[in-house]
Amino acid sequence: MAYPEKSILVLVDVDPSGDAASSTAALLGAASTIGAPVALVVGGSQAATDAAAAAGAQVVLTAAGDASSLTVPVVDALQAAYRQVQPDAVLISNSIAGRDVAGRFAVREKLALAVDVVGVSRDDEGVTAQHSVYGGSYLTDSAPTFGAPVITVRQGAVDARAEAVASPVVEELSVTASGAAAATAGEIAAEAKTSSRPELRGATRVVSGGRGLGSKEKFVLVEQLADALGAAVGASRAAVDAGYIPYAHQVGQTGVSVSPQLYVALGISGAIQHRAGMQTAKTIVAINKDGDAPIFDVADFGIVGDVFTVVPQLIEALEARKK
């Protein structure tokens, strides 16, 4: 079949239940700003196909995949889709799974690779990407010297959304397995989700806790304030290392990078590696009992005080306002 002109091939991340991952809308949104979005869904349910169309895919290609085999089946499907569609760029989520596919695919098809981008655009010569580096201290642009680029998009970084496509073309892709050696993977022990609380990546409000919370039991205070503000929960590496909360909540250099409207740091010293993941937040609030803590250097509103005194009062005041 014929594909739209200026096709942008988007690999939709599929979660263990077969649904399209939450990164889908931003990926297709980004694609729609530089061309015509064509989605590839590997191992997804009908719901994933529907979600891709709702997020703006004009064409949805599907492939069966094999969840018991890591990465390779998805790369094989992406290669088949790429050859068929011949897009101007390939967009993939900068998730762990997405990065693995992007790396292998770029090598296999000898394409330029740009990772962890926060925006895409198009000029006369093709698709370019924007990056936020060294913890948001610099903004850079990159472009491929030639050919279609493979681009991984930072989760939560792109605001553009595409219009829903009411009747997309859905096509089952025929994939020839490469036979490349692969790891076998067991069931995913999904982290119990608190459905009402927003996801950390891309959240507009984040409340994070650090070692200052003192114990896993007392870390609940962070969650309570997050709920009062309708915010996602983050943490410093020290809090993760101490077992207060799983790694998925770590904000910083080697964790998640967030750029929310509001970031509240509780009992976090503000080490440079933590700041690297949150200093692009619009408004930063910090509560720390050490007035010299470096977090105050980047805070718009800092309170030198004890989190166990201030935060309960804060939650009470916020609840009172709601009434």
Partner: protein
Amino acid sequence: MKIYVLVKEVPDTYGDRKLDLETGLADRAAGEVVLDEITERALEVALSYADKNPGTEVVSLSMAPASATASVRRSLAIGAGSAVHVVDEELRGADLTLTAEVLAAAIRRGEPDLVITGNLSTDGVGGVIPAMLAEHLGYAQATALSAVEIGEGQLTGTRAGDAGAQDVTVPLPAVISITEALPDARFPNFKGIMAAKKKPLEVLSLADLGVSADPAVAPRTIMTSVAEKPARAAGVKITDEGDAAAQLVEFLAQNRLV
């Protein structure tokens, strides 16, 4: 068992990290450089296996400027048996594609059973090199491992993936990447530092590896512009005297955040 560990020198995240606004490259003179902590942890995974399995060969591999010799030596002092350092003027500003091609060529010469890398580097935060290497080498791959058990002909581990943890089994030869959940590296002691001076450190060029950096050969990603963002300024700082919570609510309300 022969294990290659990929170690990388990076600007120390505790210091000032700068990009040269002319070239877009890391300004190596701006601050201290260190071995990326995650790559030291990768080395520890190999060394703790070698402790229990005599005859294990641990080789550290790095692609870095000539100035990184001290960091490569550090990997020997920590305990690698030998090191390979790829240095070439033409690698200045190498993108991910060229970096992966070079590292893969260096690994191919050694034919290891296992390649261990960090999951993300603190400077590039690309997190794609391990997968790129696996594709180049035709090895199986398992990334983001928070637990690793090296066995006969295969490796098992726990992958800390996007949606949760899962058990994985990888046939060897393989490329794995590990997360910071694994233990910190042992500290190089005096004996290790002295021994490191005598351990083999092979320096290789692009020509030695038969890799071309010619931009016409393969597409590359180039930086087309660099801009520095102004640093954040500190705002209001108050000391809690009983009404800090109320003042914060007021601040949030004024900024339409509640």
